[in-house]
Each structure stands twice: as C-alpha cells, then as structure tokens.
C-alpha cells in the first residue's frame, strides 16, 4: 500500500483498521482452536482404550468393562431406518417446493413449517415421539419408534439441502426438456434429479451425521441404557425391541454408571466424534469434488 503524507488522522485510521482485522481474526480463530484442541484431547485420552475388543464385544458389568458393539449396531439401525423414511419424504417435499409450488399462502406456510420444524428442540421431538409413536400408535419403546422420531427430526436437513441442489439446476435445462414435449414429472425424473443427485446425496449424508449424534429424542422413545446382543447373523435386533446407541451410551457411562474407567468414556466420545466428523468430512469432500466438475 503506497502511503501519502501520513497525517495523524490517517495514521489513526490505519491503526484502527489493523486492530479491527486482528480482532475479527481472533474471533474467527477462537472457533478453530477449540475444535482442534477438543478433538485432539478427547482422542488422545481415549486412544489407549480403543482396542479391537472395544469395538466388537458386548459391554460387561453394567457397561464399566467390555466393548461397545451393541451401541454401534444400534446406532447403525437407527440411522438406516430413519433414513428410509426421511430421505424419500424429504426429497419429494423439496421437489414439491422447488418444482411444483406456486407462490401462494400454502407455499409460504409450508416453508414456515420447515423452518420451524428445524427449530423445534430435540427434547420436544422426543416428547412427540413418545406421545405419538410409543403410546398413540402402540409401537412401544422400540427401534421403530425411535427411528421414526429421528426421521421427522432430521427431515428439514434433507429438505433444505435438496431444495438448494434442485435450485442450482439451470432453468434452461428444464425449458429444453419441456420443448421436446416432456411433461413436468418426466423433466424432473430425467433431467432435474440426475443433475442434482450429488447435492441431494450431500444432504442425505448430513442427515446421517445428525441422526448418529442425537440423544434426547431417542432416549425417550426406544434406546435402552443396556442391551447386549446375544446372537449372530444379519438381524441382530428386532424392530420392536429396544436397542443401545453410541450417544446414549456415552451419556450413561459418563453420568450414571459408577466405576467406569475414565479412558472408556473418552474412547466412546472419540468413537462418536469420529463417526460424525468422518461422515461430515465425506459430505464436504464430495461437495468440493462435485463443484470442480460442474458442467454449467
């Protein structure tokens, strides 16, 4: 920067500029640093306990010894089942909002509902799941009730990202398709969805990470503090029975189980953190890759 004759005024101005830059930079760094420190600390403290047996064995003595195998399986069940419900509904809802909805009061209300659905506290989702799925529909506290609760909770994530993906497909693609005589649905199916599938998948991945980490809603609707897996085979849990989950297991071991060794809770925390961050990192890498090969 070439400087003209520096009057005190200008000097003050430049000093303030530097101070502002440092201040805002520090505010931004204040978020990077804790993330790195926390992840690093938790992983280092947990690493000694993360053995092969830790991942593949049932917990013993009320969870204070042994592994986390049932919690891993339970979390996987909850993710897959909730995804089966929320992915189709969420994608179709986004298709409606972006491709069909006219600009009228109904659309405004739907958009408002999506925003508010995203803002409902997770514990209230849990109360809803308990009242609706566990009691009103008589599913009982079960994997089924818990994953339905999760799917409604994560619906806004999928709707928002799918909407964004659909909106990024240029209008000219649709017009070209309509001009050769295709109907609105044919256009969506053959042109809009294939061109936005990557963005939609990113949303689905984010839903997975959200579902994996939630505790409060599943704690009320179907996740048990202790439930060992006895058998082997493909279906380790039934839909109508309770299961364990990583997030709940961490809460239980840290707050309820007395006498659990410290490394164990750190190991569970780093496993959960690892799963969630790995899933998110996949979504980010996926997005960067897609942006680099976008055709328009």
């Amino acid at each position: 920067m070439t400087r003209f004759a520096e009057t005190p005024h200008i000097r003050r101005k430049l000093r303030n500029e530097l101070l502002a830059r440092l201040f805002f930079g520090a505010m931004a760094m204040a978020m990077v640093v804790p993330l790195l420190l926390i992840v690093g600390f938790v992983v280092i403290k947990g690493a000694p306990a993360m053995t092969w047996e830790f991942f593949t064995e049932n917990p013993r003595r009320g969870g204070t010894a042994g592994g986390i195998w049932p919690a891993l399986v339970g979390t996987l069940y909850l993710i897959i089942l909730s995804l089966c419900v929320s992915a189709p509904i969420g994608v179709l809802a986004a298709v409606y909002l972006n491709e069909y909805a006219r600009e009228n009061w109904l659309t405004r209300i739907v958009n408002l509902a999506v925003v508010n659905l995203a803002g409902v506290p997770s514990i209230v989702h849990g109360l809803f799941g308990l009242g609706a799925f566990v009691y009103a529909l008589h599913f009982g506290k079960s994997i089924l009730a818990a994953s339905l609760t999760l799917s409604i909770m994560t619906l806004p994530v999928i709707i928002a990202s799918t909407k964004e993906a659909l909106a990024s497909v240029p209008m000219s693609f649709r017009e070209a398709c309509w001009n050769v005589g295709a109907s609105r649905w044919q256009t969506i199916w053959h042109i809009v969805l294939p061109n936005s599938i990557s963005g939609i998948l990113t949303g689905v991945i984010l839903q997975v990470s959200r579902a994996a980490g939630e505790t409060a809603p599943v704690m009320l609707t179907g996740v048990a503090t202790f439930k060992a897996i006895e058998g082997h085979g493909l279906f380790l849990y039934h839909l109508r029975e309770q299961c364990m989950a990583l997030s709940m297991h961490l809460f239980y071991i840290r707050t309820q189980a007395s006498g659990a060794p410290e490394e164990l809770s750190y190991a569970i925390a780093s496993t959960l953190l690892g799963v969630v961050l790995a899933v998110n990192a996949t979504a980010i890498v996926f997005r960067i890759y897609l942006r680099s090969r976008k055709k328009w």
């Binding site: 509902a113 989702h125 209008m171």
Partner: protein
C-alpha cells in the same frame, strides 16, 4: 438459484406425444405423492404440537399459572408435590443470556471476518471448520463440559463446582456460533457490492466500511442470526443436562449450578409413570418450550423474509 415459479413457462401440451393411459395415471399418482410430501411438513409441526399437548392437557385444569411460572420450588416427588417451574425458567433464560453474551461477539465477529476480511482460501477453510463445529453432537459437548471444561473452570476460578451455569453457557456459545456465522455471513453478503465500492471510493478503510456502512445495512440479518442462535440455545438439552450442575434454584452468580426446562424433561421423564401428574407437567413444559422456540424462529424468519423482499 432457479426456482421454478408459476410465471415461468411450464411444459407445453401442444407437442406432447401420445402416451399410454397407464403412464399418464402413474404420473398423476406421483404428483399427488409429491404434493402430499410437500405439505407433510405442516402436518408434522401440527402433529408435534398436538401430541405433546394431548399428553399434558389433562393437568391443565389443575394448573395454577401463578405457581407454575413464578414459584421457584420444583419438588415433583415430595408429598404433596410442588410444580413451580420459576427456577427452571430462570435457569433456561440465564444460561441462554450468558451464552449469548459470549457468543454474539464471537459469532458476528467471525461472520464479519469470513465475509469481509479474508481471501478465498482462508474463507473456504474457515467455513469447513465452522461446519464441523456445528456437527459435534450435543452429548459430546456435554461430555467435554463435564470432563474437560469442568476441572479447568474449577481450578481457574477457584469455585467448588466445575459444572455450573458458566460451563454450560460456554458450551452453548460454541454450539450456537456456527449458525450465527452462517446466517450473519449471508446477511453481509446480501449487502450490494456498490455500497462497499462507494465507501472505499470515499477513502474509507475496511473497518470503517464495516462499521459505518455494512452494520447499518445488514442490521436486520445480523439480528436474525442472533435470534436463531438464541433458539438453538433455548432448545439444547444434553449439553445443559450434563454441564449445568442440574440444581433447581435461582443462581446468585454465574458459577452457581442451574437447571433448565429441557434438562428437567430429559432427566425426569424416564422415572415417571405414563399419565401421572408429574408426567403431564413435563409435557406441559414441552409445550412451553415448543411455543418459545416457535416464537423465536417465527420472528427470525419474518426478519429474514423482510430483507429478501427489499
């Protein structure tokens, strides 16, 4: 952004080739399904309110609003039980307020830095870190509060308990900063570049531009960002359950333990019998929480919409 609006030309019927009746019917069916899914969001929001309210409603005739809102004695298991949620409401509000005092400068400061002060490469990296920060599950935050932050607070401030209001507020701040940064950055991005160019042409530094031009122009959007952070903090459950110390009384200092509405439900619902008084009161607290966050989100949304229309 392409949003297919009604005024945009739709598919032409003139050139459409004859299709089998089955295909046409199938398309009708799929479009119906799409419409149903589209409006399902409304059904879910109403459904949530309905089912939560339904479980709590039988207690409404017995509810003394003055006691519920202002009595600070939450003794659900004494005989006769007292359901004074005053301390819980104070707990929720005080933790939220303290977390916002911490989070607002960080959140908005980081939003300004990301949007105005840094180059592309740094910007992308920071945005990724913020996204990852947002992804950390709340139970992990709670664990960090108990195991890492608690002992540190105890040593640094010489207080008897590491898990207290300050601990939880720090965690909530870290949890609500990401949403503030992303919404705040959108708000700053929405200010036309011509404003910045005009300010620079007058010889303003970047800080002067931010302070005198961008803040006034993006004020509503920044407010919405803060409100969404507030909504997030009010509704947070696991982190505050683990890190507040969970004790229902009016705090004297920021290092006192508190108990929040959300944590009360999470901690006590498991012990109650379906249909008991305690159970119903907990659902009514759920209704209160739903209404609170609904209101906050509604206001934030109205502000954001107002900006877009301008």
């Amino acid at each position: 952004m392409t949003v297919v609006s009604p005024r945009a030309p739709g598919p032409s019927t003139a050139r459409r080739a004859a299709r089998s009746r089955l295909a046409v019917l199938g398309e009708r069916g799929i479009e119906l399904l799409i419409r149903l899914c589209g409006i399902s969001a409304i059904a879910f929001v109403f459904g949530i309110f309905f089912f939560v309210f339904r479980e709590g409603a039988p207690y409404l005739p017995h509810l003394d609003p003055r006691q519920f809102f202002f009595d600070t004695h939450w003794y659900p298991s004494s005989d006769p039980p007292r359901y004074g949620a005053g301390a819980l409401i104070v707990g929720t509000l005080s933790v939220t307020l303290l977390s916002m005092v911490i989070a607002v400068p960080f959140g908005l400061g980081a939003a300004v830095f990301v949007s105005e002060f840094c180059r592309n490469r740094t910007k992308e990296t920071l945005k990724i870190v913020i996204e990852l920060l947002a992804a950390v599950p709340s139970v992990v935050w709670g664990f960090i509060g108990m195991s890492v932050l608690g002992p540190i607070i105890k040593d640094v401030f010489h207080v008897p308990l590491g898990v207290n209001m300050f601990n939880a507020a720090l965690l909530l701040a870290l949890m609500s900063v990401p949403i503030m940064v992303s919404i705040g950055e959108d708000a700053l991005k929405a200010v036309p570049d011509s404003y910045r160019e005009a300010a620079l042409a007058l010889g303003a530094t970047r800080w002067q531009t931010v302070h005198r031009v961008l803040f006034p122009a993006a004020k509503n959007g920044l407010l919405a960002a803060v409100l969404l952070g507030v909504g997030r903090a009010i509704g947070e459950t696991m982190a505050v359950l683990m890190a507040t110390g969970h004790s229902a009384r009016i705090p004297d200092s920021i290092f006192d333990p508190v108990q929040t509405l959300t944590a009360t439900i999470a901690a006590e619902l498991g012990e109650t019998r379906q249909g008991s008084e305690h159970y119903q009161v907990l659902f009514l607290i759920g209704v209160l929480l739903f209404s609170l966050t609904f209101l906050v989100n509604l206001i934030a949304d109205a502000i954001v919409k107002g900006i877009r229309r301008k």
